[in-house]
């Protein structure tokens, strides 16, 4: 090996190590795919996916100023009209290069592709995709970035029933392929990938024909209780695991070399953990009991804490999970009625909260976006940050998922 090449290789390895270390510490904003480019600065804009509350006006994406130095801090700067109403706009996610947001609609099956890179303060709708036409699935839920592609999890199949599945699209919107669930695990919900382990986890909720009904009329027998462990590269299911009813958000632990992850079981008021052994064989068990109806789950950048929003007991709980055998409730915050989606910043210090779950499940009409400050002593509400979503020109709006730019 020539000396110049030797130095080049050493330099390359240092850069590679630094780069991969960067990747290893980057997965804060823990609900994002690990393939998404992370922010290298504090957030300036908060995007909130909003459902027009009475479904008479078009749904929209709200742009909120969250630049602490801005004179318009905490104000809605812009509303991107999505061109149609009654979509039940729900979860959204960045493409790997963080230039576009893909938004999923639980009622209309539309996927909205939104450009945020050209003008982050005024995103533009690039296209909407009829995901049922492309895939045969219904109820698109989690848009999850892969390199150059988007993986979408679906809650249902034909006629809003089961089996559900997952599908892949190119970043430009072209459908690539799909995988239909089946057997004893036909339900779909979330997806989470651990590239280091080459493992993917999918979870299970209930199909559109059930969640489109009012809460009181939903059939509780039509909810899943399974997690699927996949070989990610092969896109093949290796194991079907059982949890309690309705395992929702899947989060791989961010602790170094961890082989476990967490899921909130909404109908069983608990968080469960899946754990892999040395041979990547997985088991599940209940980790802790939470407040009522845990609907979203976030994680501190170091993997020490879990944050869980308890929709029916109006609280957000912070759990210390540094000892998996002995999880401890560390702090509790009361943002207001029905806290739902949580979005933690990359530094783990600010967590934005919305409070709409589904138009069929919300019991309050008081919609807002609020902020929890996370410090060494736990969570504290920021009284100065309160975005009221009830007094818009189009009337009240249900804010659900959030992303930062």
């Amino acid at each position: 090996m020539t000396s110049i090449r030797c130095w080049t290789v050493i330099a390359g390895m240092l850069v590679l190590t630094a780069s991969l270390l960067g990747l290893a510490t980057a997965p804060a904003e823990t609900c994002l795919s690990p393939f998404v480019k992370r922010l290298d600065r504090p957030e300036k804009y908060l995007y909130v996916f909003c459902v027009d509350a009475d479904a008479k006006d078009n749904d929209f994406l709200a742009v909120i100023d969250v630049d602490a130095s801005s004179t318009k801090y905490g104000q809605i700067l812009y509303q991107l009209d999505l061109g149609s109403a009654g979509n039940e706009t729900h979860h959204f996610g960045f493409t790997d290069d963080r230039t576009h947001i893909w938004g999923c609609s639980l009622f209309s099956n539309r996927l909205f592709v939104i450009n945020v890179a050209d003008d982050p303060a005024k995103p533009k709708l690039v296209k909407s995709i009829d995901s049922f036409k492309e895939t045969g699935f219904t109820g698109p839920h989690s848009p999850y970035a892969l390199p150059g592609r988007m993986l979408i999890s679906f809650l249902g199949g034909k006629d809003g029933g089961i089996p559900a599945g997952i599908a892949e699209f190119a970043n430009d919107g072209r459908f690539i392929r799909k995988f239909e669930f089946g057997g004893e695990a036909p339900y779909g919900y979330d997806v989470a990938i651990n590239p280091d382990l080459n493992r993917m986890v999918t979870s299970s909720f209930t199909p559109p024909r059930n969640y489109r009904k009012p809460l009181a009329k939903m059939d509780l027998k039509q909810f899943g209780d399974k997690l699927l462990i996949w070989d990610f590269r092969d896109r093949k299911v290796l194991q079907t695991l059982t949890t309690a009813a309705s395992p929702l958000e899947c989060r791989w632990s961010l602790k170094k070399d961890a082989k476990h992850g967490y899921v909130n079981c909404a109908l069983a008021d608990s968080i469960w953990v899946w754990e892999g052994d040395a041979e990547n064989h997985y088991t599940t068990r209940k980790l802790c009991d939470t407040g009522k109806l845990p609907v979203d789950l976030s994680q501190s950048p170091d993997g020490r804490f879990l944050f869980v929003s308890c929709f029916a007991s109006d609280e957000v709980q912070q759990w210390d999970v540094s000892d998996l055998k002995n999880p401890k409730l560390f702090s509790t915050a009361k943002p207001g009625v029905e806290p739902n989606m949580l979005h933690l910043t990359g530094d783990g210090q600010r967590m934005y909260v919305t409070n709409s779950l589904l138009s069929t499940m919300d019991r309050s009409q008081d919609f807002w976006v609020r902020l929890i400050r996370v410090g060494p002593d736990g969570m504290k509400m920021d009284p100065k940050f309160n975005v009221d979503l009830t007094k818009l020109k189009t009337g009240p709006a249900r804010g659900h998922d959030m992303l930062l730019y």
Partner: protein
């Protein structure tokens, strides 16, 4: 252990999957750019080979050195498996104004790159922009004076179809070798069919 995993996967009916894990994502349009030796180079001239394509620029102090280093490791792994003649690597500059053929040759020498199996490409800004657009890539000035860009490596099968997109985290030489072998095996089967 692998056999047991395979058996578990075969017996588990939890999802109906396609026969190939490397889906056909799309077929990028053919292009002609200028190689590091100053001669025209056409993508379609590589039909029959598996191709790995990266997008880098020589003055990058971000992820490009890591990308090129990983490509070097992948090339070494493929060589050890006796696959060098069945695979070609391409690196397309994101900065054609600076990365002229002579600059690319210097860059290749730094990494001890064999031009027989790995070609660096440049062209006019218009030509490069067209290729970037077709491959879903982009480059734009960053605040630090560098170029901001995604770090992806693309895998083409012997028919020129895009079959995988790696990021740095997922671009692991043993996995790349497995993917290349899978594509060559499928291409071999196709050729053998009457």
């Amino acid at each position: 252990m692998f056999a047991m995993g395979l058996l578990v996967a075969l017996l588990n009916p939890a999802a109906k999957t396609e026969d190939s894990r490397l889906a056909v994502i799309r077929t990028p349009a053919d292009f002609t750019l200028t190689a590091e030796d100053g001669k025209p180079f056409q993508l379609s001239s590589l039909r029959g080979k598996v191709v790995l394509v990266s997008f880098v620029f020589t003055t990058c102090n971000g992820t490009c050195p890591a990308t090129t280093h990983r490509m070097v490791l992948a090339a070494e792994t493929l060589a050890k498996a006796g696959l060098s003649d069945k695979v070609h690597l391409l690196s397309i500059t994101l900065d054609p104004a600076r990365d002229k053929p002579a600059v690319l040759r210097d860059y290749m020498r730094l990494y001890d790159i064999d031009p027989k199996h790995w070609t660096f490409l440049t062209g006019s800004q218009e030509q490069i922009d067209k290729v970037l657009s077709d491959w879903g890539m982009w480059a734009r000035p960053a605040a630090n004076g560098q170029l901001d860009h995604p770090s992806r490596v693309f895998l083409l099968d012997p028919r020129g179809r895009l079959r995988e997109i790696y990021d740095l985290q997922f671009f692991r030489p043993p996995w790349v070798r497995e993917d290349v072998q899978l594509l060559l095996k499928k291409a071999g089967k196709r050729t053998a069919q009457p």
